[in-house]
Point group: C2
Chain length 329, copies 2
């Protein structure tokens, strides 16, 4: 099968509206053409590499989903509405058994958010699968940046944390030895959060008018919060007991408290949002959480001193903060 047939077969026939408007050009020309006049253009690009960001034997449908989800999560952190996406993929062979479910997983999520797949590049790699997706969105000014956290702001986080890191550790352990019953239960309860993350696009859109700074916590809560602090030239006090923990981690006896804490504070592959907002918006945000069924928790405050202070349940400072995920560490 040649490259062009491959692209046509698996990455076309997107149901989104791109082919229905004469001013739009989708897959099949040198470039895609889009109307991006209804707001400022918001654009991001993430890379996923076999053996580093996913296992070679991961379900291709879930991988297709995740390849787009991690980019939509970046749009969510800007409070942007998805507009379109481009798929770059290099793979050792054009295997329909793999490409079909991969493209289905990708397109199913694209349809959820009306985010048309409009182009990209497909090529052969010498070894391993390499995926690079670009997502485009639209947002009105003023934009929600990392650099606008204000002293006195509440710090919030969405969802419940820790499951992706625990699932990853168990999958790595499984490559060494068989898992016992409790470990298998925990893997089953956490694996979907690792392999099929739900980008918080709708939440980002709802929150946008009410927040000062926002980020997705794909590198782990503490590391991504520290990006906000650095960009805003402020510090933070975070109360560890306020940080929402995935129920599966609390129910399991597999993890000791330190492992659980490490997963929640520093585990990567979380696609929840961390944001700061004025106290004046506290009741709106609490109401939004209630009405939308989304978990939103206040976990701390922005302070003037440039430091990230983590307090335990007795408000004692926790030293030796765990390191977040760091690609070149």
């Amino acid at each position: 099968m040649d490259e062009f047939a491959l692209i046509r077969q698996y990455f076309t026939n997107n149901t989104a509206s791109v082919t229905e408007s004469s001013s739009f050009v989708g897959i099949g020309d040198d470039c895609a053409v889009l109307d991006a006049s209804q707001g400022d253009l918001v654009v991001c690009k993430d890379i996923l590499i076999e053996g580093r960001h996913f296992f070679a034997d991961v379900d291709p449908f879930l991988l297709g989903h995740k390849a787009l989800a991690v980019n939509l999560s970046d749009l969510a952190a800007m409070g942007a509405k998805p507009l379109a996406c481009l798929m770059g993929i290099a793979l050792p062979k054009a295997d329909p058994q793999w490409l079909k479910p991969f493209s289905q997983g990708f397109k199913a999520l694209a349809e959820c958010f009306d985010c048309a797949l409009v182009g990209g590049d497909t090529t052969r790699s010498e070894q391993g699968i390499f995926i690079s997706v670009t997502a485009l969105g639209l947002a009105e000014q003023p934009h929600v940046l990392r650099s606008n956290a204000q002293v006195g702001d509440d710090i919030w986080v969405s969802g419940e944390l820790g499951a992706p890191k625990v699932a990853l550790e168990l999958l790595l352990l499984q490559q060494q030895r068989s898992l016992n019953h409790a470990e298998l239960s925990l893997l089953k309860a956490t694996r979907r959060r690792l392999e099929q993350p739900e980008p918080q696009v709708t939440l980002g859109l709802l929150l946008k008018p009410y927040v000062h700074a926002m980020i997705d916590i794909s590198d782990g809560l503490l590391q991504d919060l520290s990006h906000i602090l650095k960009a805003s030239q402020v510090g933070a006090i975070v109360y560890e007991e306020q940080i929402p923990i995935d129920g599966a981690l609390l129910d399991s006896e597999v993890l000791n408290p330190e492992q659980r804490s490490q997963a929640v504070l520093a585990g990567g592959d979380e696609y929840q949002l961390c944001f700061t907002a004025s106290l004046n918006n506290r009741s709106y945000i609490e109401q939004l959480a209630l009405s939308s069924g989304t978990k939103l928790r206040r976990i701390g405050k922005i302070i003037a001193e440039s430091d990230l202070v983590l307090l335990d349940s007795k408000h004692k400072v926790i030293e030796n903060l765990p390191q977040g995920f760091n690609h070149f560490a």
Copy 2:
């Protein structure tokens, strides 16, 4: 060095205006934010893989240049003005000796076309370098598509063809054995066309109002022309003797006529433009070629029958057309 320091050090401080306008957000947030309201948004993405699209020991400055050039060439084929770009790169280690010249080559070309580097992703690969660049541009309607070639149109091509393919073949040969003097001369005369292609952005902008269909010929002249023909549901007569050949190929005794013909007709990695235009615009296009010093040659005509007919100097049909570059062939 951690990922973030790496990105900051080599891929920031772009001289383009992105950081000077308050409505723009560049590298360092979840997404870049751009004003794309002055035209329709034109977007493309190309992948370059070590061992497939470039040699491991290629000059990193030239590779940085090429990584952007191949994308700007796609914008050129749409007659679009570059707006911004994103760099995705995975590499086995963060080596400053490599990253510094790579980023310099990339940014030097970006500056040439006022195409700000606004974001991307950097990560570690298990093996080999993988580059995925996304380029964004702006173009006014009506757009120059592949699908609008008209029966009776002249077929044109810019530049002189064949050098990239010849350089590639010689570099591959050099991995097998030492090159002789004539081969080394030919490599020296052709190598820059392979490693530092000049995207025809300015030419694309000038041509846009006067052409019906346009494409860059990165997959080789005949293959890319056939994309126009298929999209437009037309055919073509092409006169082989009209096709412009790189002077280095004509001067050298290394190549036999068949090798030369193969390089010119089917050699990939050409970043020239092939386009079709009405006879009414012939004098404008010839004038544009003269005044801009750009070589533009009429090589054939669009016909109604869906076929690509190549004629030799005696107007006899050449059978067995060479195949173009095909990633999964």
